[in-house]
Symmetry: C2
Subunit: 103 residues, 2 copies
């Protein structure tokens, strides 16, 4: 998981993931949506591939990319022990709102 955060730190890559969440797409499709050149998009896709966040399927000259959410599950797992902390904060917030409401 070490580097998954670094991969996700880039806005363009997060946008790519968001697009792939809808459906599998060829590179040209992504280039069209993002305001980046084709080589730049290809480079991001390489990073995402090596991080295991996407997978490719070849269809003639086209490469169809799709999401591979495994590493995201690891991020989710890293987050898990923190989850109870903000849940606690939210609980406190709720209690305060209840108090105000009670006035």
């Amino acid at each position: 998981m070490a580097s998954t955060f670094a991969v996700l730190a880039d806005r363009s890559r997060r946008e790519i993931l968001d697009l792939l969440r809808e459906r599998e797409r060829p590179v040209g499709d992504l280039v069209e949506k993002l305001t980046l050149t084709q080589p730049t998009v290809s480079k991001h896709l390489k990073v995402l591939r090596e991080a295991g966040l996407v997978e490719v399927r070849t269809d003639a000259q086209r490469r169809w990319y799709r999401l591979s959410p495994g590493p995201l599950a690891e991020v989710d797992a890293w987050l898990a022990p923190y989850r109870r902390m903000w849940e606690k904060s939210l609980d406190a917030l709720e209690r305060r709102l209840d108090e105000i409401e009670g006035d």
Copy 2:
């Protein structure tokens, strides 16, 4: 949330968060645990502060740092729409295991 991933991309900062998850700590305490110099740790704390991931409390010369999990909740929210995807993958994995078991 934009930069929260960038902040989390650094291993040292994640270690600091992990330490603060246990309890509030002064800077010197963190320096002791990490293999970093005091100025470097202070710099990471500044980044974490500006990202809203930690808060400080002053006690004489000591500064006690504690976790402030708000931005992590935002990361969790970003992750949410992806969650069903790996849950689906896990389901598929389970079904396959069931098949093998069924042999």
